[in-house]
Symmetry: C2
Amino acid sequence: MDEFELIRQYFTRASAGSGVRVGVGDDGAVMRPEEGRDLVAVVDTLVEGVHYPENLSATDIGYRAVAVNLSDIAAMAGRPRWMTLALTLRVADRHWLADFSKGLFTAADEHGVSLVGGDTTRGEQTVISVQITGDIDPDLVLTRSGAGPGDLIYVSGSPGDAAAGLHLLEKNSLGSESARKLADKFRHPVARIELAQKIAPLASAAIDVSDGLYADLQKLLLASSMSGQIELNTLPLSAEITAQFDSEAARRFSLGGGDDYELCFTLAAENEALLDDAIRGAGVNVTRIGIVDEGHGLACTNNGIAFDYVDNGYLHFGGSGE
Amino acid sequence: MDEFELIRQYFTRASAGSGVRVGVGDDGAVMRPEEGRDLVAVVDTLVEGVHYPENLSATDIGYRAVAVNLSDIAAMAGRPRWMTLALTLRVADRHWLADFSKGLFTAADEHGVSLVGGDTTRGEQTVISVQITGDIDPDLVLTRSGAGPGDLIYVSGSPGDAAAGLHLLEKNSLGSESARKLADKFRHPVARIELAQKIAPLASAAIDVSDGLYADLQKLLLASSMSGQIELNTLPLSAEITAQFDSEAARRFSLGGGDDYELCFTLAAENEALLDDAIRGAGVNVTRIGIVDEGHGLACTNNGIAFDYVDNGYLHFGGSGE
């Protein structure tokens, strides 16, 4: 068995998957789209040493490679269906491939996504690009650009936990339960697929938080040609982050850390009363943190008093994707 | 303007493209599929120093990155429509990006393909993954697995020219017209999109020649659970390769060189008479080189006498893709 076959065996499964007519193994994959649905496509790359620390397990790397893409599908309110994998490896290591593919398929299976194609190449550094195609209700596409004046700004979960967890992971400070819980948030981010579909009929705009809440909310406001204001005291902080860090550090993680892949969205004020019912069963809470206005820029208040926040969050070279 | 913006400007165009509802710039792209068509998806990666020599221009790299994917779409008889780009760069160089994007869009525009999304990351080596989604007539999907006993084996163009051209390019031996023509075959491979659609109603199986005619025909036969025999004297050799190399070297390039991305396909014998009419206007000739039979393996004859060909063609680490 040559290396081609060695690698292929880890990514080939008995069932091609839902809607797949030709799966892995031919020149291309053939899939049948569902009538009346539009397609949604995303791509995101993880580079060894840039997007994950060296001590992250191959299983966790595989999981994250899929999860970050699922998050982009979620931000559009799409339903993920099929993925391709472009994998550049230094060596073809059986154990690494077994673990990596396990993590990859775990994340994919959680949302019924089939791997339909791939390309494996040799390089000097591990580079993992996953591309996911999903489908979407044409009338419920959620973009960054729909926010209007007076809309309320919401965020799901407690962003910052994963960045705090990564910080602890890099320092190997995982001695306590709360530290391990934070690290798990980095290792297994949960894409907000269900939440996004539930809020899509109510929300005016959405973005997934990949570069940090402050930076990504800025992008949403820019795309909507609006300004915004957030109240720092309303930022949702988890019990774990509060246990591990002082309030200043926790706030920095909350505003600057994007590795949780939570959803930030806006909502016309008249829809606020419908939100609780809409998100029932989504498996995550949402918190109102601010308001949209005319103009441009994103201002912060702290207990109602203007606060000059300087974002020095995660800004890697071009890593934001689309 | 930060690096994100610098890079984005090279890949953003005024028109989103055909069937594109949301293009580059949001979390994901939204496309409208055509009713009654299936989807076809492919992905292929070029790694600096592995898949192209250092002296290949950025324009040519961009062109090839798209063309190799178009070729996989062609091999299924699909029509390419939308692509995403995952680009890992050592540095964000304006000139390189300008040239690379020029080549990328040239290849895409030749087939009406729109860039709908991307992700740019920093790494130690340039890695370019292009993923293309197309559509396809559900009744005319061309796989590797449909060849039957007695089917005739055909190949388009004159495979080997591009590998010969790469050889000359690497040696910097481009002094003659014929050498430059061969190098151009490497720099600008033409995906056989039109040819594939024209032969799809007649052909039983197809593969694009990316790893070499002998190796790829073997894959087609394996997928079809068939054997095959090719006559070396029928291999189509260009005037240019004959001018530059002796017949032994030319034959090695022809059987082992995959960089032209020609199409190899099989055809029931009763369809042979229809072929000339079918491929009119496809812009390329096809040549009958052999025959399919029961059993397994691929044998060669030279003027009808058994010839023991040992394939030592291009076999890089896992680089065949799907």
